[in-house]
Amino acid sequence: MTYPAQLVELIEEFQDVDDQMERLEMVFEMADEVVLIPIDDWSDRTRVVGCQSEAHVRVSLDDGKVLMASAADAQLVQGLMGILTIAINGSAPAQALLLSPAFAQEMGILKSLSPSRSNGFRNMFDKVMLEIRGLVE
């Protein structure tokens, strides 16, 4: 899988870290990268269903480019949203749709990407991709 340059850089940064706690700390810091959906705008339409935490995403097009806004009550989930934001915001929808969720495994953040009810990242990723598809179809 070829990733956008900004994501490749992030993957390498994460791979350079051996300590899992330190890696998670880096994900926590990524929570600041999201375009935040204010809590008052959280709704069933933005909710990521099946997440253990309260997680919300909204995708729109800004001048034909993807603009993902998001928020979560779990810092780790919002950190993953921040990484996804870096990966796709400003991309053409077709390019964003090429992204595989496997990058989270390559970064050493998640062991499993199965779309189970407890895998907030996968559910969030799938919802974002579904919304992008909805915008271009």
């Binding site: 300590d19 899992q20 706690m21 998670l24 700390e25 935490s53 780790l76 989930v77």
Partner: protein, 397 residues
């Protein structure tokens, strides 16, 4: 601790740290004897049970039925139906007894403390049959409202109660629940998934009509469990799943059924799992479970007290008969974040609603972190766990 040497998985490292496994209320680890017993079956005796006359089939049958015999001895029960676990055992009661004995406007009494596996089957049956489902509330001290329970029994045909809450660790006043249920003319089902790992129950003396539980929460394999049934109630059950092994004769006009437990075990059963479970009982036989329970509860009490001192809310009371489960929440650090950070240090805990959403709703929360202790856990592990929580709070809060 010599007992730990029996569990090969406890030697493994997670993220470069020794595994500290504190997710025992979800499933327990397996001693080497269980792993060996299942491996021996597949390498030496693999065959289908009951029908064939060859040597391997005899060994497989002896192994499978040996588990049933062990269950009957361990629990002093006359009827032990082997199922895939607690969930299937409860569903079996709903289908085999419920459908044959419950009609429109009958009532079933549940509690807010139940696991989803003791709620959903009854909701499904209630919808199908027009049955009323009543729920006994949980009080602020994490116990059941027994006054409401007593009042809810009028006209009830069945009571279904969890032995020990998988979230709170609270052991319910089962003797009173069973007695009052029977006085009201109701049958009583106990979901003992979290009870039997800590408490060697005498089913006959206990007095419940049904008791459901799983092997994997007591050092046995996943995929197998049991339903104990009082003999007179067993006779009120109709076959649920049809197929091989549960019949006496089959003609094109119709079938007749076995009269023993096989009537409810259609198809090829879980042979290796039964053999593994039998080995787990054999391993546990040498332990003083009462003494072990006291020891585990001390670990849980220490953990709960330390977590409270760190500003956590602990959901549970840890009375003498309760299980060694500690559910807790930090006021700001999300349960999922805390669990990931603990995992980074090799600590396996559970987060989420623990398949008990009505209980969590009652508590006004959507998830907890749950540390649950079992036979191989030590006080030293609990002390390291608390030290790790402190490190996380200092670094991330």
């Amino acid at each position: 601790m010599a007992l730990r040497d029996d569990f090969p998985i406890l030697q493994r490292m997670v993220h470069g740290h020794p595994l500290v496994y504190l997710d025992n209320a979800a499933t327990t680890q397996k001693p080497q004897v269980v792993i060996d017993a299942m491996n021996d079956y597949y390498t030496q005796s693999n065959a289908n049970v009951h029908r064939a006359v060859h040597t391997l089939a005899g060994e497989a049958t002896d192994g499978y039925e040996g588990c049933r015999t062990r269950l009957k001895t361990w629990f002093n029960a006359e009827r032990a139906i082997l199922t895939s676990g607690t969930t299937e055992a409860i569903n079996l009661v709903a289908h085999a007894w419920g459908r044959a004995n419950l009609v429109k406007d009958d009532a079933i009494v549940l509690t807010e403390m139940e696991h989803h596996s003791d709620i959903v089957p009854w909701q499904m049956l209630a919808e199908e049959r027009g049955i009323e489902v009543r729920y006994v509330p949980v009080l602020d001290d994490f116990t059941l409202d027994m006054d409401v329970y007593a009042a809810s029994l009028e006209g009830a045909k069945l009571v279904c109660v969890v032995h020990t809450s998988n979230v709170l660790g609270v052991r319910n006043p089962l003797e009173d629940i069973i007695r009052l249920g029977h006085e009201a003319g109701a049958k009583v089902l106990i979901d003992a998934a979290q009870g039997v790992p800590h408490d060697r129950i005498d089913f006959e003396a206990f007095g419940a009509d049904f008791m459901a539980f799983s092997a994997h929460k007591m050092c046995g394999p996943t995929g197998i469990g049991a339903l104990l049934v009082r003999p007179e109630v067993f006779e009120e059950m109709e076959p649920f799943m049809g197929g091989g092994d549960m019949i006496e004769t089959v003609t094109i006009e119709g079938s007749t059924y076995q009269t023993n437990e096989h009537k409810f075990e259609a198809g090829t059963p879980r042979i290796a799992e039964a053999i593994g479970w039998d080995a787990a009982f054999g391993w546990m036989e040498s332990l003083d479970l009462k003494q072990e329970h006291k020891r585990m509860l001390e670990i849980a009490r220490y953990t709960a007290a330390e977590l409270r001192a760190l500003g956590m809310t602990v959901y549970g009371r840890h009375d003498d008969a309760d299980s060694a489960v500690v559910s807790f929440l930090h006021p700001t650090l999300h349960s999922e974040d805390l669990a990931h950070l603990l995992d980074a240090g090799g600590y396996a805990v559970r987060t989420g609603h623990h398949c008990a959403q009505p209980l969590l709703h009652r508590l006004g929360i959507s998830s907890t972190v749950r540390a649950s202790f079992y036979l191989y856990n030590t006080m030293e592990e609990a002390e390291r766990f608390i030290a790790q929580v402190k490190i996380i709070l200092e670094r991330f809060v």
